[in-house]
């Protein structure tokens, strides 16, 4: 490309415009990391030792993992059907699955609170089973699942679409039942999409705040902790938690990426 740029002033212009976005994102992150890790490393070390902070980060990672697991189990069949079959009302189902992406987060929180609170339609039923959502870990999971499942379903659907349907047809003529042709052919060929969809879903769950703060202020997830400390101690109290959270997220994502890249070669 660079050899083309020399002969092409338009590309230079495009490049400059485009880079503004990249620079903005880098500036925001590097400024935060620099001011914390280089200018105020002491505060950062104190935060690493704070058991409340660590507990909230662990809770965030853990609940989002459960939400993703639910999304994967329920999402794979849905994604497969959406990828493989045409039927009346398919558009509508696809639109419904995308609603959690466009709905404002606090609105999702109000909707879920109204459904799952102790007096809510579903909340009443589950409280008889001993499961409580309001101000409880399961409320966090349900909120994360609500906002993150569309990302998993979308990615898995694209994955199944990218698998040549003739492969399953051939498997069936060779003697595979529909189930075997699904789990021996379609599923392994979609594994990378499923994996990256799960990562996206997990990341989306970790990032959620607006919906969770309404259904479950306690137990505090990392985001709630950041806001609480920001409101009481300002930037000094909250930035170290933000930096710690983002470092943990980055390390995990990069590690998962590497695992999935190595998996590709096999």
């Amino acid at each position: 490309m660079f050899s083309e740029i020399r002969r092409n002033p338009l590309l230079i212009l495009f490049f400059i415009f485009g880079m503004l976005i990249v620079v903005y994102i880098i500036a925001a992150l590097s400024n935060m990391l620099y001011s914390q890790l280089v200018l105020h490393p002491g505060d950062f070390i104190n935060v690493i030792k704070d058991p409340d902070v660590l507990k909230s980060i662990w809770l965030t990672l853990y609940t989002s993992f459960i939400a993703t697991a639910i999304g994967v189990i329920l999402g794979i069949p849905l994604a497969y059907i959406l990828a493989r079959y045409e039927f009346y009302g398919k558009d509508i189902i696809e639109a419904i699955v995308d609603i959690p992406i466009i709905i404002p987060h606090t609105v999702a929180g109000i909707a879920l609170f109204s459904l799952l609170m102790k007096r809510g339609v579903v909340g009443v039923a589950f409280s008889k089973l001993g499961i409580v959502f309001q101000d409880n870990m399961w409320g966090i999971v349900m909120a994360m699942f609500f906002v993150s499942c569309p990302f998993f379903v979308g990615t898995a659907r694209e994955g199944f679409k990218s698998v040549n349907p003739n492969l399953e047809s051939v498997a069936r003529t060779l003697g595979a039942s529909q189930w075997k042709s699904f789990y021996q052919i379609a599923l392994p060929l979609t594994s990378r999409h499923i994996f990256s969809g799960a990562i996206m879903s997990w990341a989306r769950g970790i990032s959620e705040f607006g919906a969770i703060i309404i259904i479950a202020y306690y137990p505090m997830i990392a985001s709630t902790m950041i806001l609480a400390r920001f409101n009481t101690n300002g930037l000094l109290g909250s930035q170290p938690i933000a930096v710690l959270l983002i470092i943990i997220c980055f390390i995990t994502f990069v590690a998962l990426r590497l695992v999935s890249k190595r998996g590709r070669r096999i």
Partner: protein
């Protein structure tokens, strides 16, 4: 072997209309037709991948219309080969055997027999994505053959290959058919493949089978104008029966009297005469030919190993001749020439 009765279906853009077809045991049957005729859908219905709206599919006397594909035991080879990309060549070939729980030693035996027959021993541990088109085709075939099918269905198996690979594979297919005695059903739009491979051909157009016969019947005696055009016969002359005696008749085409076999036609009937360009003889020839016309050469075009000559005899005639004839008869645009053809070489159809 395969018996299809009154099959009708519509699936997306493709429609099948009232198809009946009999394919015999150990036959190499080619379904030939232009793209969009519904050939692939018909093949997929025979395989059980789609179920028809109406009609029946019988295999070996059993009604399998609604039998799942995994219970039919047919081999299927797709145009895009459809090799499993996450399995290597050996595991692809082995797939059907593993599903059948064939023990490992028997599997190894079968695989080594197949790769020997198809000359792909050296590919056994290769990743399928590194194979050439012709190699993929052979692996797909080996995979289908592994389950010992009585019938192999092939959907445009050579259309993605270059010409040299295609010619070689066609010879291999002929050999395979001869030695294995499997029934082949081969879908294609290529007349060349059909001529080279078919015992019988079914011509499929617009969702229905319009003619079934051996290659000579199809290519020399097409039963409709559309089939004649599809098999590239430009000599389609419209005329009227003016005279008839015993088993011969005279057909007048633009004032020219052409002798044809009378068959069941009546005096006064409108007919079309069809004759292949290689049945037109040029120059001083054959006195047994009753049809003998004088014309002017309007064009001479080289096509690979032969030349296509167009002659105006009061009606347009196209002839195919060799380089040697061109030299011997000194054929050039604008020259006068005599043409001959036999009454028996003419196909007469109603219009």
């Amino acid at each position: 072997m395969i018996h299809i009765k009154n099959l009708s279906n519509n699936w997306g853009d493709f429609t099948l209309k009232n198809i009946s077809l009999d394919i015999k045991e150990s036959e190499y049957f080619v379904i030939l037709g232009p793209t969009g005729a519904g050939k692939t859908l018909l093949l997929e219905i025979i395989a059980g991948l789609y179920f028809p709206k109406e009609g029946k599919v019988m295999i070996n006397g059993n009604d399998v219309t609604f039998t799942s594909p995994e219970n039919r035991g047919l081999g299927f080879v797709y145009q895009d080969y459809a090799l499993f990309p996450h399995l290597n060549v050996k595991k692809n070939i082995e797939y059907g055997l593993k599903l059948r729980k064939v023990p490992e030693d028997k599997r190894e035996e079968k695989i080594s027999e197949l790769v020997k027959m198809l000359k792909i021993n050296h590919l056994l541990h290769r990743n399928t994505e590194t194979l050439s088109g012709g190699e993929k085709q052979k692996v797909a075939l080996a995979r289908a053959l592994a389950i010992n099918p009585k019938i192999i269905l092939m959907d445009e198996p050579f259309s993605a290959l270059d010409e040299n690979t295609k010619s070689k594979l066609i010879l291999d297919m002929k050999e395979l058919h001869k030695t294995e005695g499997i029934t082949f059903v081969h879908v294609t739009h290529s007349q060349e493949e059909a001529i080279l491979l078919a015992d019988r051909i079914g011509i499929m157009m617009k969702g229905t089978i319009v003619q079934v016969g051996n290659p000579d019947e199809i290519f020399y005696k097409p039963v409709t104008k559309e089939i004649a055009q599809f098999v590239k016969i430009e000599n389609i002359w419209e005329g009227k029966v003016t005279n008839k005696k015993e088993d011969e008749m005279i057909v007048e085409v633009n004032g020219n009297k052409i002798v044809a076999l009378s068959d069941h036609f009546k005096v006064g009937q409108d007919v079309r005469l069809i004759i292949r360009p290689e049945d037109i003889i040029l120059g001083k020839g054959d006195t047994s030919a009753r049809n003998n016309f004088k014309g002017k050469i309007t064009s001479v075009i080289k096509h690979g190993f032969y030349y296509i000559i167009r002659i105006d005899c009061g009606f347009e005639v196209e002839a195919a001749v060799t380089k040697q004839s061109i030299e011997n008869l000194n054929i050039r645009e604008g020259k006068d020439i005599n043409i001959f053809f036999k009454a028996t070489a003419l196909q007469v159809i109603k219009r």
